[in-house]
Every structure is written in C-alpha cells, then in structure tokens.
Symmetry: C2
Subunit: 442 residues, 2 copies
C-alpha cells in the first residue's frame, strides 16, 4: 500500500492519511527561495485572496479566505472538475460526507491513539506538533479518502455491486500548521480537496492508475496558458512504493497540486470489520474486494497555480506616446471570475444605464458573469478602468455610449488582444456564448 | 439588534451567533410527535442520505452524510441559490472564508470567554453543554455572518464604497449537539449554510428586509410541489425584536429552513475596532456605516424539505390487474439529481449498449445528468426498474430497443405522468433541454 509510508495510521480502527498537501514545501518557501510578490500583491489588491501578511506559505497552507473574484474562480474550477469527473463519467458517484465521520472521532475521554499520527506529523513538519494542535485536529478530516471508504458499501449497492466505479467528493479538509513567527501558537490550515476514489479489481488497478494520471494531467493543462508548467512526477516513498504527483512550477519552485496513489484491498477491510461479503464487487464474472486508486487535488493550490499561470506583464501604448507596463491576468475563459464588464462611455448617463441594465439582465440570464461597472457614479478614466479589469482577469469590457443609443452599436474591448471591436448590442450575448464554448472545447 | 437576544455573544472581541438551526425542534421530534419513516426510509434506501438510525432529529441536526443522489441534489439546490443570489444580482459579492477566521480563534492558553455562549446554549438546548462540547466548538464557525462582517472593508473597497451591496457565502458550519442516547458523549453537528449579508443605509434597511423576505419565500416556493407548505413567520425574541423565519411544514410539524434578521451598525463597529472611516459606505451623497440584513438558509434542511414535498404515493395499475401503491419523488426538474435513466429494452444487448453510450455522451455534453442503467448486466423487470427510478426522482427513462436500431425511435417514460411516448433518438436532447428550461421558468 503505497501511501502508508507517508502517513497512513490506524486511529481508533480507522485510517488517517496525511498527504500534508503543501506543508513540506511551504516551510522551505517561508524561509528562502524566490519571492512571488507580484502575484500575491495582485491577488490581494484585486480581492482574489483576503487577509494580511500573504506569503506563498500562508496561501498554500490554507490560512487565507477567498475574496469575491477568488470565490467565483474557485466555483468555476470546481464546476470544471465536477463536469470532467462526475457529469461526463459513467460510473462515478458523488457524496457529501461529514467533516467528522461517526466512529472516527474520539468522544470518550482518555488518551487517544495518536502515536503514529504524531510520528507522521514530525516527519512532515520536521518539528513536534503541540498537544493542543493534535487535539484540535483529532476529529476533523484531513482528507476525503475515509469518507469514500466508509460509504463504499452503500454506493456499491446502488450500482448493483458492479466494478469498477468511483466515489467522488469536493469538500473542506483541515490540517495542523505551526506558526513560524510564534511557535507557541498553533493554527489549523484549511483547504478544499477534490477527490476521486476509484475502486477496481486488483488486476486492472495499475492500468487505471496510469489512465487517471494521464487524464488528470490533461485536465490541469487544459486551462493553462503555459501547459508545460503542469507536470507529473513520481514521489518515491520510503518503502520504495510510488505516489504520483501533479505539480505546478510556481515562481518559487514546483509544488504538488494533486496526488495520486494506489491502495490494496486492505484499505476496505481495515475500514470495515466483520464479515467481508458486503465488500465484494462484481468485475465481469468474478467477485472480489476491489483495490483503490485515489487522487486528491488541492483546489486552492490549483487556483493559485492558475493565477500564476495567467499573470502576464504587457507593454501597453498609452495615449500620449508613453509606454506603460501593466499586469494582465489571462485567466482561461472557463475559469475567469468575470466574463464581461459593462461600463458607460460618453452620453446621457441615465439613459445609458437603462441600456446597460437590460444588457446585463440578458447576459446573466444566459449564465454569463457580469461586472456592473456602469453602477459606478465616480468617474474613472478609461485606461484606468482597463487596467483594473485586466488585473481582475475580466475577459471583455463593453462600453455603452451615445452611439449605442443611436445605432445599437457598442465597443467591445478584449482583455487578451486589447483590441476594441464594434458589436451590435443584440449580437453580444451570442458572441460571448460562442467565445466561451470555443474556449471550452480547445 | 434583533438577534442578539437569542444568541449574540461577544467572544474575544468578535461575535458568535447561535441561531441553532433546528436543534430546538429536533429535541421535541426525537421524543414524540408524528413519525416520518416513509421519507427517511426512502432517503436511506435510495442513498439520498447515508448512515444508520436516521431520525428527523439526526438528519436536521446534521449528523448524516449525503449519498450520491443527495449530493447531486444539494449541488443543484446550491446552483439555484447561487444563480438567484449572485449571478442575477448586481451588487452581491461571493466570498469563501475559513472555518476558523483569524482573530476569532483562541489559540492562547487560559480560560476562553465562553460565559455567554454557554448561557445561549443552555437556553437553546435546555441542558448544559459539556466542557468538551464547548472546547470542540471553540474555534469552528457556527454561521457565516462573522466572515461577511470581517471582510466587509475589502468588499466595500472593491465596489468603490457604494451601498447597498451584499456579501454571500455557502459553506459548512458546525454546532454542538448532545446525544440523547448517550449523554456523556458529545458530537458536532454540521450543516451547509447559504448566507447573504446585505449592507444598506439605516433608512432603507427595513425595506430591504421586507424585500429579501419576500424574495426568499418566492424562491423556496418556486421549486415546490405544494408551495403553501413553505411559509414565513415572525419569531419574537425576548427583547421584543423580531427575527423572521421561513418554515417548511414537515410531516412532523413546522421547522425553520431560513432565518432573516436585522442588525444595526454596531454589527460592524464591534467587529472592527479603531478608526471607523474605512467602514463608511456611500449611499447617494451621504456616507455612513451601514445596517445589516442577514439571511441564512440551512441547505440540508431545505433539501429534506424538498424531499418531503416531492414524495407522493401513487396508485399504479400493474400488468395483471393488480393495483400497487408506489412512492414517487416528484422532485422539481431543476433539482432532480438524475434527469434521464437510459436502459435496455429487447434486442441485441451489445449493439444497443453502443447506442445508449452515444446517447449518454451527447446528453452529458449538454449538461444533462444521466443514469447509465444500460451498464447493468443483471436483468431487472421493467416495472421494478420504473419503481426504482421513481423513488430516485429520475425525471425520464429512455428505453433503447431493437426498434431503435431499425427506426431510431425509443420509448421515453415520464416519472410524473407514467406515460410512455415514442421519441426519435435525435430529438431527445432537445426535448429534455426544452423541458428543463420550461420548468425552470415556471
């Protein structure tokens, strides 16, 4: 069982796994290496992330909330994940399990069996976690594997015991982190995991593992500006078994954003005591307890990867011959938190606002995320607006002006080309929908 | 400040609110009143909910995970909520905050200030929570209000300080529950809250409250078979101030599924110490610290409400003149976890499976959730299949048979009418899309 060596411990008859998403790397980051001030400062300024003292370690360690743009982008990312892993799959069942599963907490007083967990944590964090740290973490899930293993019998029943199939879940997980600056305090880091636990016969397990690793890497690359920054690699564990990682090459070095590993049938037998007949699935004519391929993504880690991937510093010809450098977040259209910003050009503001409002309502009706810049009553110069929207990753900006009132034509400015086109107001919705659909298919 | 009387306590300079979603009612349910075995047994059998010993109290108290159908239905419900509250709104910003916000945990040793929380809990639960119970809950959020108040300044900045606006979040919250059967143990209940915190000037606050209450009630009723079972009512607090509830009339009595209340500007000033200029928003020409309308839905409670609402026991004319009673979950098409089940009729199984597979791929590409019944290799009588799918709330069942191979025609059976229509395989996707769109607009 490949992941055991890293941190599979039996706690109260159940398993605890500590893939420790990015902790190992974060520690290194906090003390040295290249900085990543550009992207983090932009994320803070444009409210992708919230909070003070933002460092790669604090972001990847799950100590920041997501602001409006980050929350919307995360939602888009999870939607893409769900579509690829649930909607478009034949035999994948989603579940939504509790953060504290019954039978996995330690409600009774007395010393909980934490020896192995502690050892794991020590290895991973290179320092002893405090007792308080462990106590706080005692009951909260650190990953989504246990939920899938725990509810495997119900899902198997629902599919008439047919193998292979997968159980998937997206949910908040928790991990203990020690504060470098104040070693006495301990905090709990949070991350959203997107996990697929795939049950198949022992014979096909290795093939499935290769299949899923390829699929997952392709998926990550699909939305990237520079796909080659996403790579897969093997992570040799101490017993010589392998865990595969999907990594992103951040400005400060490679970090895993997804892990993929194999577990044998003991994953299920150790979770479910007693008679094992109800664990048997049908694979063709044979009946057996399946092996497991488990992959788990770090959603916020992936989000930061895509933000780093999207950041480009562009040279921009400003009106008076000056050249300015400006940051553009070229986020993939499927992930971009805002597709269209609607703003006012020259003309009677009250009338134009009515046009904008109608336009926004129509676009929202088609599921297109709109930023209502026209509501703003303070005047902002146009170039400043474009700078702001580029930093927000807004795909297009529509400018409604007196020309629109006369002829129905508006100016549509593209984030990626900075070219302004003239589009009829009645064609805008179809244009955007087609643009999005085309980008999604690439 | 209306909700204070119920459970607004200042803990470490911040607020804790204990709306205690359904605890009060659950206690009553667990000991008496009408039972609800029908719906819970069906939810368990068809894997909407997972776990043993299901009671209204345990389900509403957040002690069960959601199975595949429940997880998909919850996802649909949240999507509808998001569309109505974020996508289609001009001034609502989503955030995604940590379950343990910085500054709201008590990392330092020493007695945490829990006096008021304890008093609140005592009142709500009518018994003393154990120390352990309180300790476990000390850091985990019980609602999403604090996150919105905490990040209000960042969001205000993003909108150029313009009022009114809202901050919305959907996320897991935690509450302590005592186990009736084993009073020595304590557990933590979990629920998903969908919250909107609406900031507006003091003058318009009451109007906004009425507006939102009406909007929310309409929203809940939109997806109901019997809309009148959703009702709103005032919940008089002890100081005479009001909290409004949106309730559902469960088989065992009314339970709140959403709460709505008003907080004055002290909500923000108590959260943010020091100079208050950064809290000021612009409302027209005036600048002021806004008042707050806060509404918070219990997503799993709403899910159970819709399941109860959907359950109908139908008389069914079985082939040999027998009459059977059978349960149908008439879940609204926008919420139904599965839109179409695809199954095999008579004919060469291998060829038919290919047709089914192509059909499913096409439908999934259009975002339609499909149940691949055709993968099943064990034969199930047709009527038994329909019974199963009706209990799963599957909207339509497509039967692909040798006729399909010859003429492209398949049989489409409707859950709601039980009528079987003949539809050409090329028309199915458009038919379903139109059906869904029409249902969404009703």
């Amino acid at each position: 069982m490949s992941w055991c060596a890293v941190g599979l411990a039996r706690v109260g008859g159940t398993r605890r796994m500590f893939p420790a998403p990015l902790l190992l790397q974060c520690r290194r980051l906090a003390t040295g290496g290249r900085t990543s001030d550009d992207i983090l400062e932009l994320c803070r300024r444009r409210c992708f992330l919230l909070g003070e003292k933002m460092t790669p370690a604090s972001v990847l360690g799950g100590r920041h909330s997501l602001g409006p743009l980050g929350a919307q982008m995360k939602r888009n990312l999870i939607k893409e994940w769900w579509d690829a892993m649930v909607l478009h799959r034949e035999q994948v069942l989603p579940i939504d399990s509790l953060c504290r599963l019954p039978g996995m907490s330690n409600p009774s007083p007395g010393p909980p069996p934490k020896t192995l967990s502690k050892a794991c944590l020590e290895r991973l964090q290179n320092q002893s976690p405090t007792q308080e740290e462990l106590e706080k973490m005692a009951d909260l899930r650190q990953d989504l594997l246990n939920g899938a293993l725990y509810y495997y019998p119900s899902c198997l029943e629902l599919l008439n015991r047919k193998l292979p199939f997968g159980i998937t879940e997206v949910g908040r997980c928790f991990h203990p982190i020690s504060d470098n600056e104040d070693p006495d305090t301990c905090r709990v880091g949070e991350r959203t995991a997107a996990s697929l636990v795939w049950f198949s016969s022992a014979k096909t397990c290795a093939q499935w593992r290769d299949y899923w690793l390829r699929q997952r890497l392709l998926w990550w690359r699909k939305f990237a500006q520079v796909p080659s920054r996403f790579s897969s690699g093997d992570h040799p564990d101490e017993d010589g078994m392998k865990t595969s990682l999907i990594q992103y090459d951040f400005p400060w070095g490679k970090e895993p954003i997804e892990r993929l590993g194999i577990l044998d049938d003991s994953a299920l037998t150790q979770m479910h005591h007693g008679p094992i007949a109800h664990l048997h699935g049908r694979d063709g004519r044979k009946s057996a307890i399946p092996h497991v391929v488990w992959m788990s993504s770090d959603v916020e880690g992936g989000l930061l990867a895509y933000l780093c991937d999207a950041l480009q510093v562009m040279k921009n010809a400003a009106p008076r011959g000056k050249e300015q450098r400006r940051a553009v977040l070229k986020i993939h259209p499927s992930l971009a938190p805002v597709i269209l910003a609607v703003d006012l050009g020259k003309g009677p503001a009250a009338d134009l606002r009515l046009v904008c409002q109608g336009l926004c309502t129509e676009l929202r009706g088609r599921g297109i995320a709109v930023w209502p810049g026209y509501l703003e009553t303070l005047h902002t110069p146009m170039e400043q607006l474009f700078t702001r929207y580029d930093e927000m990753g807004v795909l297009f900006t529509a400018l409604v002006s007196d020309v629109t009132l006369e002829s129905g034509l508006l100016q549509l400015r593209s984030r990626d080309t900075t070219i302004k086109e003239t589009v009829h107001v009645s064609k805008l919705s179809a244009f955007l929908t087609q643009h999005m659909a085309a980008a999604a298919k690439l």
